[in-house]
Amino acid sequence: MPPIAPSTAPLTLRLNGRERTFLVEPQVTLLDLIRERAGLPGTKKGCDRGQCGACTVLVNGRRVLSCLALAWPHAGDDVVTIEGLAQNGAPHPVQAAFVEHDALQCGYCTPGQIMSAVGALREGRATDDDAIREAMSGNICRCGAYVNIVAAVRAAREAGA
């Protein structure tokens, strides 16, 4: 059968604490919705195939890859991106720990690293350095800042993040 023409309809979800409505075709990923439609470019498109973790966001409080999710199934969900982490102008403790521990070089993977760390800490998985490495293994850093990333996540955990 011939391909069915894409339909458009309004899609509403909660993005960084605000209800937002978008007109998007079915094939738009959550990542493209965030970057292109909502104009929030902090979430990065690295591989776009679920291998690098740069697109990590929180959906209903849990870290997921926004590149491997269609936008439409997330209607009504609560999505938090790197732009939504700071509270009252103060960086999130994980953001502060990444700055403090110089846990980045080029910075491209950093939003995904931080969102993943926030999720991993909530999951209670980052209990020691080996557990941090395991919990963060879905986030690739091509600059190789891993040593400082582990230190930052450890510090954020000790700070109660």
């Binding site: 011939p2 894409p6 094939q27 870290r63 491997l68 199934p73 993943s116 999720g119």
Partner: protein, 328 residues
């Protein structure tokens, strides 16, 4: 990604009807495999049926079993206390798979139908009998270090991916499938089909059916089970070889043995002949070595993946030793 029609199912019956209407339509649960393969145009569904909101995500205790809803997330199943206590191999397998982000999205039902990582399947310019029946197989003479050595055919040597299914095969899980006539239960060892001459047919699921749950029965052998995974990296990598093993030991002899292998089969591989070797003998190194040899009988290797025979045998011995000594 090609255009497609997106519809939301209101119930399992609705989902099946929406799928059945369109040949090639696909369910959408966690999206992790489907979206990836749609971007590669390996999957080209004209319709996507969103089942992600259906009430099928619970992990429920029944009298003699646990029923895991098809939409339960991998991370939730891994963290479920009943699963951890009674089916440790399953919890370990789930935790060893993918990454934290993927485990939060991937569902049990979707994971059961995860597609192979064979690079010739995943890239549409190569020949692949699984993707395009009758087109040929470029893996046979290609880069096949990761390919299967058990259950292969001259048409396909693609390795069954993933960890969860290997544990479920060892634990004698049943796949609960809803169809026209109601629910049917398929032993997971019969759920997966060997490639033979039709590698495009991977499971016993018919178009328009829906996996609603996986069920596991409580048993001593399941309680004393574990999952061992060997791979090129310490984390976030598919298995070269994995072993799910369970032993029930009484009065110094093995009374029940369960052994399944990942990374080496065209389907999650149950090694029944090796289990028989272990029955009513003492749990010792000799028995493990004999079982390991029998488990790899009939392996068909290629120069690049021949190393998997010895690797699998050593992994089996190590896993059985771990089960017997560790007790968990």
């Amino acid at each position: 990604m090609r255009p497609f029609e997106y519809v939301v199912a209101g119930s399992p019956a609705d989902a099946r009807a929406l799928l059945r209407e369109v040949p090639g339509a696909r369910y959408y649960a966690g999206g992790t495999t489907l979206v990836d393969l749609m971007k590669a145009e390996v999957e080209r569904p004209p319709r996507v049926v969103d089942i992600s909101r259906l009430p099928l995500a619970a992990v429920e205790l029944r009298a003699d079993r646990v029923r895991i809803g098809a939409l339960a997330r991998n991370s939730d199943v891994a963290d479920d206390p009943t699963v951890g206590q009674h089916f440790p191999a399953l919890a370990q397998a789930l935790r060893s798979g993918a990454s934290g982000q993927l485990r939060n999205a991937a569902t049990v039902g979707g994971n059961l139908q995860q597609r192979t990582r064979c690079p010739y399947f995943r890239e549409t310019r190569w020949r692949c009998n699984k993707r395009e029946p009758g087109s040929g197989c470029d893996a046979l003479e290609g880069f096949n270090r990761g390919h299967a050595i058990l259950g292969t055919s001259e048409h396909c040597i693609a390795t069954a991916p993933g960890d969860m299914a290997v544990a479920l095969v060892a634990l004698d899980a049943e796949v609960v499938i809803e169809g026209e006539g109601g629910e049917r239960r398929v032993p997971i060892t019969e759920f997966y089909l060997l490639p033979g001459a039709s590698p495009e047919r991977e499971t016993a699921l018919a178009h328009g059916e829906l996996i609603v749950a996986v069920e596991l029965r409580f048993a001593a052998v399941n309680e004393r089970s574990r999952y061992l995974k060997l791979r090129d990296r310490a984390s976030y990598e598919f298995a070269l070889v994995s072993v799910a093993a369970g032993l029930a030991i009484e009065h110094g002899a093995i009374r029940t043995a369960r052994l399944a292998l990942g990374g080496v089969g065209t389907v999650p591989w149950r090694a029944r002949d090796a289990e028989d070797v272990l029955l009513n003998v003492a749990p010792d190194e000799d028995a493990y070595v004999r079982a390991a040899e029998v488990a790899l009988d009939g392996a068909v290797t290629r120069p690049q993946n021949a190393f998997k025979v010895e690797l699998a045998q050593r992994a089996i011995v190590r896993a059985l030793r771990g089960v017997a000594e560790g007790g968990a």
